[in-house]
Symmetry: C2
Subunit: 185 residues, 2 copies
Amino acid sequence: MDTKTTCLGVLALGEASGYEIRKAFEEGPFSHFADGGFGSIYPALNKLTDEGLVTCTAHYQEKRPSKKVYRLTEGGWDRLEQEMRARIPGEDKYRSDLLFILFFADWQDPAWIARVIDTRIDFYREKLEAMKDCSTLDGLMVGQRLVHGFGCAVYQAALDYLVEHRDAFVAAAGNCHDCRQTAAE
Amino acid sequence: MDTKTTCLGVLALGEASGYEIRKAFEEGPFSHFADGGFGSIYPALNKLTDEGLVTCTAHYQEKRPSKKVYRLTEGGWDRLEQEMRARIPGEDKYRSDLLFILFFADWQDPAWIARVIDTRIDFYREKLEAMKDCSTLDGLMVGQRLVHGFGCAVYQAALDYLVEHRDAFVAAAGNCHDCRQTAAE
DNA sequence: TTCGAATATATCGGTCCGATATATTTTGAC
DNA sequence: GTCAAAATATATCGGACCGATATATTCGAA
């Protein structure tokens, strides 16, 4: 889904400003399967306004930049529904710099490998704790709760794998002292 | 990692053409944590050649476009090592159109929800089978095998969750006949 | 009191990606 | 045996996307 469509999705939960949409992508309920920075969100919101899919109301605030609150129009609802039924969704995209580094673990310093894995283990533990004690789950739609559960399940599997194989990764590191020659076959 | 760096990574396993690099991203050992289409790979390869990080040798073939084979230089090896140790790797990116659709399951047609989930379950089953019987695992470095295992573990967790909650998703669908009003609070 | 984080919008340059163009060989189905 | 489809192989273009940056104020913590 492009940024325009994911913005429509956030706005389907209630009116929001560009800033609030970004929070939904970064920390909110959309954070584990969608994203978008300001450089994508603001242009997308302008295009959506031009196409009549959202309305924009400026809420003037005395001491801050005036907040522009966006809201779906009937056309916006139609477009969102249409996008969600348009095609069987394509394969998920999963990109990981950590896995790229770990792939070449054999050629690297054991201490460095240990450090990147331990950092990630800590990160996953915190993330999962925050997701689980998430009391804001009440009142959500069933789909939202299930998708949240999907996120937890996948993070948990990643964490478990890292914990279980941490030592094997570290042991692999530093065993190949001549990688450039080895790779040259 | 940008496309230039991931290309260096593929070339670290042996010389390759642009076409072969793409296969490594699409089906090969890099497929579950990196990617890049021709539109990214060819320009990246040109830049790497300009910077002296790879060399390009044209292998003329009689009846096909001549194959340009790229190979890492010493500078290329240095750059790759440097990139992998430059910083603690950032959070993985996970993007999913399926989860976006499922998030709004309550508002959608049960048959459609069943179809998208069943399609994905089939996809994961095939993918996992292909990954597990992967006899090409012999002779790989330890890091490569472990990263492969990580991919299997995460795909398995995703598959298990979908199988277990498929009926709950379908049951959620179609229960909300008035989503636009409901969303308006 | 000062420094960083949060609130809030916006742009710009560079990168990335899907679609498309081109051309031949191999594979497989009927 | 023939024909279509898939694989081999490189390349570009326009539009979308993203990180960095600019601007300005308030709030809380050290």
